[in-house]
Symmetry: D2
Subunit: 196 residues, 4 copies
Amino acid sequence: MGEAGLQYLAEAREQTGLPIVTEIMDPSLINIVCQYADVLQVGARNMQNYTLLNAVGQSQHPVLLKRGMSSTIQELLMAADYILSHGNRRVMLCERGIRTFETATRNTFDLNAIPVLKQQTHLPVLADPSHATGKSEYVEAASRAAIAAGADGLIIEVHMDPPNAASDGRQSLRPERFAALVGQLSRIAEAVDRSV
Amino acid sequence: MGEAGLQYLAEAREQTGLPIVTEIMDPSLINIVCQYADVLQVGARNMQNYTLLNAVGQSQHPVLLKRGMSSTIQELLMAADYILSHGNRRVMLCERGIRTFETATRNTFDLNAIPVLKQQTHLPVLADPSHATGKSEYVEAASRAAIAAGADGLIIEVHMDPPNAASDGRQSLRPERFAALVGQLSRIAEAVDRSV
Amino acid sequence: MGEAGLQYLAEAREQTGLPIVTEIMDPSLINIVCQYADVLQVGARNMQNYTLLNAVGQSQHPVLLKRGMSSTIQELLMAADYILSHGNRRVMLCERGIRTFETATRNTFDLNAIPVLKQQTHLPVLADPSHATGKSEYVEAASRAAIAAGADGLIIEVHMDPPNAASDGRQSLRPERFAALVGQLSRIAEAVDRSV
Amino acid sequence: MGEAGLQYLAEAREQTGLPIVTEIMDPSLINIVCQYADVLQVGARNMQNYTLLNAVGQSQHPVLLKRGMSSTIQELLMAADYILSHGNRRVMLCERGIRTFETATRNTFDLNAIPVLKQQTHLPVLADPSHATGKSEYVEAASRAAIAAGADGLIIEVHMDPPNAASDGRQSLRPERFAALVGQLSRIAEAVDRSV
């Protein structure tokens, strides 16, 4: 994302009051991205990019670390350790689906990863049902499952006009479906003695 | 399972009033097994054993068909078609975890399979959180997720004394944990407008 | 395969003098198939069909056991043990490709399985480059590799008219390409101090 | 690798006359590494690190691009395109084993990738039997297979004292076994009308 893109993020943050998460790929851009983003996302393809992990660790900025598409849960925890080792303890982990032989969905949502991670670390554990399914018609079910399994948060792609989205439209919810989903999730969170 | 084993099942059914599900592996035993079992289970290793699929189809007995450990969802549906093609429409499908590179759990619970199957067929869709995780400490989370995702039923292994179980003790719940789980599941079922 | 099919096999054997390998799927047909076939093949989908493994073990007939599409090498050896445990020691193992995320080929040819099996057992180790690749244009390269790695034999699909084959035409060689391949394989076998 | 490490590489190159291949992980070090190395290696974990791919593309230095451990062949070709798009056409591809369910070897050597890549690109195709097997006892067989399948080159780990190697000793050959292997490979290359 170029500086123009960052400027849009800044505007979006100002107008909505929402915090911004954005992906960082180039270690040399960390200082500027930290000015515009509240959380630095390390994407699945870079989960073992140690140069980048060290850089976001040194930044002391909150980090959202996504599991590599064929990384084991243990490798995800070891990647987090690169960040933690710089004294940056604000790390969130995210299960976003793994690569298997199944082709009915874009990825295979490894639901087990949620309770395994909750047992093995005290870091927050998020799930990304949009990437984990790749198809909007399955996002609600996967979201409900993630919350029921104990996830601390979700990343869900939303778009006003999914068929014309620049990327990932196939897995994006329209705002009204997203709003209805939040209602459902709230009920499930209560049923497992959590709040949304 | 020999005839003595079947006799035990008959006694268990009589004493408890519970219906019996048992695995059938040898097509030549179908008639005798149908006398003792209410449901014939076709195991994951036999999901593409066409001789067996045809035999349980001809039996007209209810069938619980488990997904092969590396079978696609489409292949599961095609295996069900072998049974349905004999006019036996009492078929239940079961997601029980697939084989992937992840070793933290015995199998990878393909949670996505539940909404995909619910969309593609009207057959009941079950989940087996015991096999899908292989470790009792994760069975509750996976069970909650399955119900939240829309599963019509669960298969959960329970044993009075898991460390001394003849098989699968590692993934078995003690009765008191099972009872507590049923309570949790009931709350989640309500939250998604289902009943247990 | 019905009895008519078996009759064709018998004619083919008589006219050509070639020994016959054919797949057995139904344990109740073993006696009749043994009359017509020199080797009983247990297919990948039945590698863990224990009823069938026991039956071919009891038959004392030579067996060609194919690796399941997602079976580990260790599981293949354990399946062979079911046959060997009946005193039937004439068992050949066959690597035929495993299921992975790669879609450029029908299966992924696990070349490593050849040296691993050669180290862990004294049973003959075959490879099936036709299924391991699924596309005829890659069959020659995979065949050469298998022989160079130490395979004791190959199963290669050949058809006079692949586009019109009843099954597996996409991976079948025409006779003239097969003949040329045998010449290449002979040279490689010599280079690794084997003979064809 | 720090500057001291690079200095060792320079000495090794001077004393032996051998060209040097070394892995680059940090885009900001490209200029200095280009002074010491003849070829820049992009490792499997960085195959989709686009910042790094662009940097090595701009360098115009020869590049050895290793396949990601769960990348498809198509994704490997697309990663190469990032480098080629900067006008740097000196790119070699390397199959180094993929991640599957099999645990008998460190990775699964996707032998099929060699003929598929040879068909789809004119770039040189290498294989890394050391990583593809992870165990020195299988390296010779995998090396022979790769040459027989048409690989243009091999990367083989060699160490004077494997049990005490700083890394990857389990998959390293001693020099005398490496020398013997080169002799075998020469014979196979001749058998497929290539030279070593």
